[in-house]
Symmetry: C2
Subunit: 260 residues, 2 copies
DNA sequence: CGACACTTTGAAGACGATCAACGCCGGTGG
DNA sequence: CCACCGGCGTTGATCGTCTTCAAAGTGTCG
């Protein structure tokens, strides 16, 4: 039995910030929950854009098929993230990607008219939406630059840091949240290249064995990755990593060295 | 002596569509005109974001300097285009690029608060802004994909088509609107690669000599470029090119073959 | 004429894609 | 219980493309 109202990870999204509980929950009521079993398509490339989506649970891959039979992954979205806000607002004819669940997922869907209407009548929501889309655009831009200026190994190292921050994993060790094939596609490289790259990263402060990732030397990672990035000082990801590490260090010292 | 009100290319921007002449001209009055001689910086990377800009005349290059001393051009904006709308709405700390005039330019600048306030109080404007930013984000995404999937030569060919559409040049022959160095940087390739590429394009329906570009065989260009692009059928640029060519053909026949 | 910015051309090298083979594992069916 | 299979990942060898470094050509402007 599913809850009528949305779970907290949706209600506390930045998109609904400053809206007041009542307004927010009213808005969320317009959404329809939809179960999406692993492997099922949410929508396909060129399908008409009919809804705006909130991911409540699970993981959705956005990808396009290139004429030569390859698949390029545009994004991998997980719970608490939105889909199609840009396609809705841009009034484009059809979906620009395919969307498929890479694990059993639940999405909340809203008709396109709802999104436009809400943006029109709730100025706070409109500003939140502007902020969300602008931020997305910025991330896309940074990624494009990374693709252009960083080597495959640097891209992977950068990605591992982001994983760690986004999923709140411990740098001391975590498991990849999805397959290497998907990650490689997400990073715009071939699986073989990705695989080879993992070995090389050992020399740069990251050890990967099977699905297990350990960040062994954050300073080395920073030197290797962030030095290649024109964003450098602004790199929020690496800043977050350093915070993580220092937190771990301090908590360890407070439990006086040896746990267990 | 400069006009107090904005010229038509600004007043008829999609951003102000549906606003009513009075509202629009009122809004535009809040802008301050600023002359920007060739080579001058409008703002620098990491500077605080203080304004939103409309380009009234001229051309502005947005670029970032990579740690290894290279410059990556993010965008080249000309009259009728906006700058920084995303940076303003994303509430980011500092500018994410440098902006420099590549020719004498005039911009209309608005304080960041003006943009946010206008979006809050004019829902039509907010929707236009959402649409603009979404569209930009989409273009960036498509470009990133192009960079990843197309060869240097295909990128250049694609770029020439876009030039032709954006500036309303004739495919029968036009001059590059800015330097090859800037174009190469814009396309994310080295000047040498760009230069070599131009020669090869002769085999694919585009002839370049000096600054002169002639699209000799549009069908060949389409086959060469669009076949590599997953957007394929949706490629509005190439559609626009075909329209251009057919218009020229029909006007030529209506003036009965030989002008001059 | 000479200085300088811009562009072209050549040769070498680095990097990632591609093709091919193999190892590993979980499931299915005899 | 074992044989077979398919999905997934690794590893090796080769190849094409783009970058890099170096040098020379073109144009403009004082």
């Amino acid at each position: 039995m599913l809850p009528i109202i949305a779970p907290d990870n949706v209600r506390f999204m930045p998109l609904f910030a400053g809206l007041g509980e009542h307004d927010r929950d009213m808005l969320l009521k317009s959404g329809r929950q939809r179960q999406l079993p692993r492997g099922h398509l949410l929508f396909a490339h060129t399908d008409p854009v009919t809804h705006f989506y909130l991911i409540m649970r699970g993981t959705v891959q956005l990808f396009r098929a290139t004429p030569d039979g390859h698949e390029k992954t545009i994004a991998v979205a997980t719970s608490g993230q939105t889909l199609c806000e840009d396609e809705v607002m841009d009034a484009c004819r059809g979906h620009r990607t395919n969307a498929v669940a890479v694990e059993d997922s639940t999405v909340l869907e809203f008709p396109v008219a709802w999104l436009k209407e809400t943006a029109k009548t709730h100025s706070t929501f409109a500003l939140n939406l502007l902020s969300l889309i602008s931020n997305r655009a910025h991330l896309a831009e940074v990624e494009a630059e990374h693709q252009a200026t960083m080597s495959a190994a640097q891209l992977v190292a950068c990605f591992m840091q982001r994983l760690c921050v986004l999923y709140d994993f411990s740098p001391k060790g975590f498991d990849l949240p999805y397959s290497k094939t998907l990650i490689a596609s997400r990073l715009g490289m071939e699986l073989e290249t990705f695989s080879r790259t993992l070995v090389k990263l050992r020399d740069h402060g990251i050890t990967i064995q099977g699905n297990r990732v350990v960040i062994t030397d954050l300073a080395r990672v920073a030197e290797y990755v962030c030095s290649a990035c024109s964003i450098s000082g602004e790199c929020t990801t690496h800043q977050a990593m350093e915070k993580k590490v220092s937190e771990i260090a301090s908590s360890k010292s407070s439990t006086s060295s040896k746990p267990i």
